[in-house]
């Protein structure tokens, strides 16, 4: 009668073996020192941050800052371009991250202005004449979108490189929540302050020629230029004796255009300066080296400011033409120098960041949570097993086998897909046990009912599974709907819970309909076809 029974049982066995090998065996091997071949251990179940201990950070990227920097540089380039074309304007103002205005365009140069402006900016900005010689440039919406996106990708790449340099294993760095947020999860990290500092620092390095200073105040600095900042220069601050890092601020006038930036660096490492104090040594990429050689070669005797995040670290005198390497000193400790080298190696962040959420889970708490989770799982399992055996007698075994197959699939799936088990995930695991048995209860009650209607055992089992199938489908779909939204909107550990629930529900549908039925058929196939009794 059950001609496909053999294949059903073999399928079940193969599934259990495969998922068991991926999800369960590595755990047992770790615990009891069983042989652990690499191909089997490669995909083992990972523990989430809340069970392993570590740092969970949510940060916001100031994307508008990246836009503003870009708008400022376009505005500056246009000003230079206009100057070169002989169009003098009275003011160039950046009014918002995406908008700049040019004022005082002379009437007779209007056509020339338009030609230069459109040539330089029309790909990214829309120009509109406000009237009275004022023109407004607005970044195009699609460019804004692209730049936002680019900023996020760049920020994640940079953080990724920094975290890798820190030597964190299995970090998780991903887009998060609203559009401008990044999630950083660092398992096993305990020095939170240092990790936060390394991740967040913009580390924008610029080397610019010094044109004036140091001076004790802005006014003193600008005396020589009648209080005006020349249009191709800017004022930057630094420690008064930057080489020793003493407190107090002094003012410098430097060229606006950098000789080289952090982007020109090939590598950075820790070394010692002439006073045997820790310093950061860097070398340059070929392009950067060419630029650097040019600038240093033609400015021997002048000072070059080393500016990090808009603050002058030091301003060594150029003693000769330098080609492809340099040194940053500034009274660092060994650790500070090492961290700065790390940040420079991994590149600058495209915009500044702020922390929105910070969770630190100590390893002790993680261990306690694992113990609690395992205890609760075993207790739950024991309670459910006892109940099913007591209430459904031998058929209870059936439900228990189906439930265990379900749990093996769940663990195997999590391990194979590389999802981490979190503490709420364990709750999902336990809930799957309870809900998994539900399906069997519905089937068993139906079988009892059919048996009560004086059907033979075989007919009762077949009819019950057919009738219950739609009910089970409906109940699982509704639970899945809720779980999917939980996954969609959930964060961190909650996602882990939703994920376990989703996988658990799907595999449960399979085990209760397929595995449980095969087991009933296995029992009945050994009986005469007209047997009426079933231990249920």
């Amino acid at each position: 009668m059950y001609k496909n029974l053999r294949w059903k049982l073999i399928t079940t066995l193969v599934i259990v073996l495969i998922f068991g090998a991926v999800g369960v065996y590595p755990m047992l091997a770790n615990r009891y020192g069983l042989p652990a071949p690499g191909w089997l251990m490669a995909k083992q179940l990972k523990l989430g941050l809340d069970l392993r201990g570590g740092v969970h950070l949510v940060m916001r990227v100031d994307r508008d800052e990246a836009l503003r920097v870009s708008t400022e540089s376009v505005a500056e380039q246009l000003r230079e371009g206009l100057q070169a074309a002989g169009v003098s304007v009275s003011a160039v103002n950046v009014t918002s991250p995406t908008i700049f205005r040019i004022e005082g365009v002379p009437q007779d140069k209007e056509a020339e202005f338009r030609r230069v402006a459109d040539e330089q900016t029309s790909t990214n900005y829309d120009r509109s004449a406000v009237g009275g010689g004022v023109h407004e440039f607005t970044m195009r919406p699609n460019i804004v979108k692209d730049m936002y996106e680019q900023t996020m990708v760049q920020a994640i790449d940079t953080i990724d490189r920094r975290v890798n340099e820190l030597g964190v294993s299995e970090p998780n760095i991903a887009r998060y929540g609203e559009n401008d947020q990044i999630l950083v999860q660092l398992p096993g990290v305990t020095d939170v302050a240092r990790a936060k500092d390394i991740i967040r620092d913009t580390a924008l390095l610029e080397l610019k020629l010094v044109e004036g200073g140091p001076a004790p105040s802005r006014e003193a600095l600008l005396q020589a230029t009648n209080g005006q900042v020349p249009s191709d220069m800017e004022v930057v601050t630094g420690a008064s004796d930057a080489s020793t890092g003493q407190a107090g601020t002094s003012y410098f006038l430097v060229r606006k255009v950098a000789a080289i930036t952090g982007g020109d660096l090939r590598s950075a490492s820790v070394g010692l300066d002439e006073n045997n104090r820790p310093a950061v040594m860097f070398s340059l990429k070929p392009d950067g080296a060419r630029k650097f050689g040019q600038v240093t070669g033609s400015n021997i005797g002048r000072s070059l400011a080393i500016i990090l995040d808009n603050r002058i670290q030091s301003y060594p005198r150029i003693d000769g033409r330098i080609v492809d390497n340099g040194r940053i000193s500034g009274g660092f400790t060994q650790q500070e120098a090492a961290d700065l080298a790390l940040k420079l190696r991994s590149g600058a962040l495209p915009a500044s960041m702020s922390y929105l959420e910070e969770r630190v889970i100590g390893p002790t708490l993680g261990r306690d949570s694992i113990r609690a989770g395992v205890t609760a799982s075993l207790a739950g399992l024991a309670l459910v097993v006892m109940f099913m055996l007591a209430y459904y007698k031998l058929s209870g075994i059936n439900a228990i086998v189906a439930m265990i197959v379900n749990l093996v699939i769940l663990l195997g799936m999590m391990a194979y897909a590389g999802f981490a088990m979190t503490l709420p995930g364990i709750a999902g695991f336990i809930l799957t046990m309870g809900m998994g048995v539900d399906s069997n209860v519905l089937i068993f009650e139906r079988i009892k009912e059919e048996l009560g209607a004086k059907r033979g055992a075989r007919a009762a089992v077949t009819a019950s599974f057919e009738r219950v199938f739609l009910t089970l489908l409906d109940t699982h779909v509704t639970a899945l709907i809720a779980a999917l939204f939980l996954f969609q909107f959930g964060t961190g550990p909650i996602r882990g819970f939703a994920l376990t629930l989703i996988i658990g529900l799907l595999s449960n549908l399979f085990t209760s309909i397929f595995v449980s039925r095969s087991l009933f058929e296995l029992v009945l196939s050994r009986r005469p076809a007209n047997a009426a009794a079933l231990s249920i």
Binding site: D50, R60, G177, V192, K196, R200, S354, Y355, L356, E357, E358, R359, V360, I361, G362, T364, L365, D368, S369, A372, A376, S377, A379, G380, L383, V384, F387, L423, P424, I426, A427, I430, L431, G434, M435, D438, V441, L442, E445, K448, E449, R467, T471, D474, T475, T478, A479, I481, A482, L484, F485, L486, Q488, F489, G490, T491, P493, I494, A498, L501
Partner: protein, 324 residues
């Protein structure tokens, strides 16, 4: 050993007292919540939590004093309580504020708490857990939580309306909302905090409490065919009775695993386990007393999808439903 041999209770008759009882609990719960007995945890309100594990037992009042002495009145509204089992010497300290997000000092308050504990001359300790949620993320999580609940319910409503009948779907959703409100009420009575884990529990209940209801609706649909002469109230009553055993057993098995979680799952999952515990019990109750009663009220005398409508009735109604 069946629990119910052949139950024959008139559940539909009890619907008004049942609805009254539910309303009483819900109203009491709402009052408790309005009085602030279900405070938002740091996940939603933002704030700082520091959990410290001391090397030896420390009277909780000494920790409280240390926190209250923090400069700037930060410690005034702090919550200080034992965390986990007493033998673990763990203390949780929660302050409502965080450092400023923009200036990059989000952890300022957490650092201040640790400094205050160090200064107070308490036994040595290690910080085993820090949670700092700034207001931005708090708002976001709150919004997402509400959205997730609404979307989940709409999805379930649509699915049941598609599979069964709109009146059934509304009955199921009313029952689900009932379960959520009752659970919130009990969370307030027992003074839990509204945390992410509690929200996860509430959403699980949204999916779970419908399950029993579907089993009954399914039976109602099946009975429609064999009992086409009977009125809906009777059909529903029979269906509820027929499925009563499995309603209680399915809830019971899930309850067993949730009880294990509640007893052994540790401090972090306690809120979740409690939410599930109340939700499952309430779900069973509402399945039996509320869901079908609402469906009956809404359905009135109109025919039901899947019911073989009497020929006389079908000819009168042009927009009749197809019998499947």
């Amino acid at each position: 050993m069946p629990i119910f041999k052949t139950p024959n209770f008139d559940f539909v008759k009890w619907r008004w007292p049942a609805i009254g009882l539910s309303l009483a609990i819900i109203v009491a719960g709402m009052i408790a919540i309005a009085q602030g007995r279900l405070p938002m945890g740091v996940d939603f309100a933002g704030g700082t939590i520091v959990v410290s594990k001391f090397s030896q037992h420390v009277p909780i009042d000494r920790v409280r004093e240390a926190v209250a002495a923090m400069p700037g009145g930060v410690g005034n509204d702090a919550v200080v309580q034992d965390y986990g089992e007493a033998s673990q010497n763990q203390v949780l300290i929660r302050v409502a504020r965080t450092g400023d997000e923009v200036s990059g000092n989000l952890s300022q308050q957490a650092d201040a708490v640790v400094a205050a504990l160090k200064q107070a001359g308490l036994p040595s300790f290690e910080v085993i857990n820090t949670e700092i949620v700034g207001p931005v993320v708090g708002d976001q999580l709150r919004r997402q939580g509400i959205l997730a609940t609404i979307f989940a319910m709409s999805g379930i409503l649509a699915y049941i309306a598609w599979r069964f009948q709109l009146s059934f779907a509304i009955g199921a959703i009313v029952a689900t909302v009932h379960d959520l409100l009752v659970t919130l009420a009990f969370l307030a009575f027992f003074q839990y905090d509204m945390t992410l884990n509690v929200l996860a529990g509430l959403l699980t209940i949204t999916g779970y409490s419908v399950n029993d209801t579907i089993v009954i609706f399914d039976r109602v649909r099946e009975n429609m065919r064999s009992m086409r002469r009977d009125n809906l109230t009777h059909i529903v009553n029979v269906a509820v009775n027929q499925t009563l055993g499995r309603t209680i057993i399915t809830a019971g098995t899930t309850l067993l695993s949730v009880i294990a979680l509640y007893l052994f799952g540790g401090e972090v999952l306690e809120g979740f386990a409690f939410t599930m515990l109340v939700g499952i019990i309430s779900g069973t109750y509402s399945t039996v007393f509320i869901a079908a009663a609402i469906a009956i009220m809404l359905q009135g005398r109109r025919p039901i999808k899947g019911q073989v409508v009497a020929p006389a009735a079908t000819e009168r109604k042009s927009g009749r439903r197809r019998a499947s």
